[in-house]
């Protein structure tokens, strides 16, 4: 157990210190949200309608594009070898690294979501719900992306490839996240769409590390 905590702390420290790239995901998220009105026009009613969708797409892309370094960095400097020599199962190691990555990259997205939602005209009373759907959904996306990160760990330019592999699988999260938010905008409470979102996200929390471990074992030389 202390080994898992040590892994989470180490990854967090590396991500948050200089050169770790922790803030870039949030800036990317912000940039994505900002360019949508430029493409669509400053048409507030239209922006209001697509606001939740843009927030979800932005968070999805920002999460996926940062995931490729999760295992690649350790593969390159020999840390992955050391991790494999420990008594901790590789699945749990992958989960610990995924959790650390989400804390450094995913949680900040959730925190700035209300502010960005305001800019896209999302109704103030629905801002908390958008943030909640992302709070529930981004861990699922992150852990699902772990599998892709494991597959592309030893590839020199694996980053975009990983995002491409995972994007179709993340569609269910996207669907239920946006539907839940739209319902909240209309004043309805959290119903079955939200429950589906939670269920799928939890499923990915389990599937992701297992697939990542399998990928690391079989695809590395």
């Amino acid at each position: 157990m202390s080994a898992l905590i040590a892994i989470v702390l180490r990854d967090l420290r590396v991500a948050l210190r200089a050169g770790g790239g922790a803030g870039v995901g949030v800036i990317f998220f912000l940039s994505l949200v900002v360019i949508v009105p430029f493409a669509v026009g400053p048409d507030m009613p239209l922006l209001k309608r697509i606001g939740p969708a843009m927030l979800w797409i932005g968070a999805l892309l920002a999460t996926l594009l940062g995931l490729d370094r999760v295992f690649a960095a350790d593969h390159e400097d020999g840390s992955l070898d050391q991790l494999l020599m420990s008594s901790v199962p590789l699945e749990l190691i992958a989960a610990a690294k995924g959790f650390a990555h989400w804390l450094a990259s995913g949680l900040p997205l959730v925190i700035v979501t209300p502010l960005l939602g305001l800019m896209l005209g999302v109704e103030p009373h629905a801002l908390a719900t958008v943030a909640l759907t992302l709070l529930v959904g981004t861990p699922g996306v992150t852990f699902l992306g772990l599998a892709a990160a494991g597959l592309s760990a030893s590839l020199p330019r694996g980053g975009l490839l990983g995002a491409v592999l995972v994007l179709p699988l993340a569609i269910p999260l996207l669907i239920f996240g946006v539907v839940t938010t739209n319902a909240a905008i209309l004043g309805e409470g959290l119903g079955s769409p939200f429950r589906f979102l939670c269920a799928i996200s939890l499923f990915f929390l389990v599937l992701g590390p297992i697939a990542a471990a399998a990928a690391l074992r079989h695809v590395r030389e």
């Binding site: 200089a18 050169g19 790239g21 803030g23 870039v24 800036i27 912000l30 940039s31 900002v34 009105p37 430029f38 026009g41 400053p42 048409d43 507030m44 922006l47 305001l118 800019m119 005209g121």
Partner: protein, 243 residues
Amino acid sequence: MPLIDYANPHRFQRLAAWLIPLLGVVAGTLIVLGLATGWAAPADYQQGQMVKVMYIHVPFAWLALGGYTVMAISALGTLVWRHPLADVSGKAAAQVGAVFCFLCLVTGALWGRPTWGTYWDWDPRLTSVLVLFLLYLGVLALWRAFDDPLRAGRAAAILALVGFINVPIVKFSVDWWNSIHQGPSVSRLGAPTIDPSMLYPLLLSAGGFFVLFAVLHMALMRNELLRRRARTLRILQAAEAER
């Protein structure tokens, strides 16, 4: 003393030691004066008391753009004139400018809510400031991405210049984008003429904030120089241990 003499970090630290508190007092005085006279000035007949946000919002906007200009000049100093303190100045300007830019956006949103009903509606001026904010964030992210401050400084300088050249293009495009969809409307945060009773407080307050910018800029430069010194000492310590 010619400017080049302040290239020595020690000289700069000594200068900063007394200049920062002095300018701090000047800034504080001007800001208090400006805001006090602004508060006492008559309210706008359309917007009521809320127009007084202008006394901080407008200086913030000027400083956001001014900060980027200081950053661009520092970038020239780094790449062209090779002044040793130029990249330190650039980093400090990026940090202070980004904060003022953010405050401009926030005050603009707060001004918008009671006056026009929404916090944000993509009007061309505020949108331009938002894009400027993204450019700032990019420069700051680039600074953080490198271990070595000198490499980071050169990279950030190049980015700052590229951004600076693009600012007029972005401004033009944003205005164009806005006018296509909404017709040629006057940006709601501008006023073609401004009553003198509002102008003097504005200038006082703006002057105070400009001096505040200088204070913060110098203070951040001082911190950065200390940080680099600490880093160099660590590297030397490790090298010593080898022998």
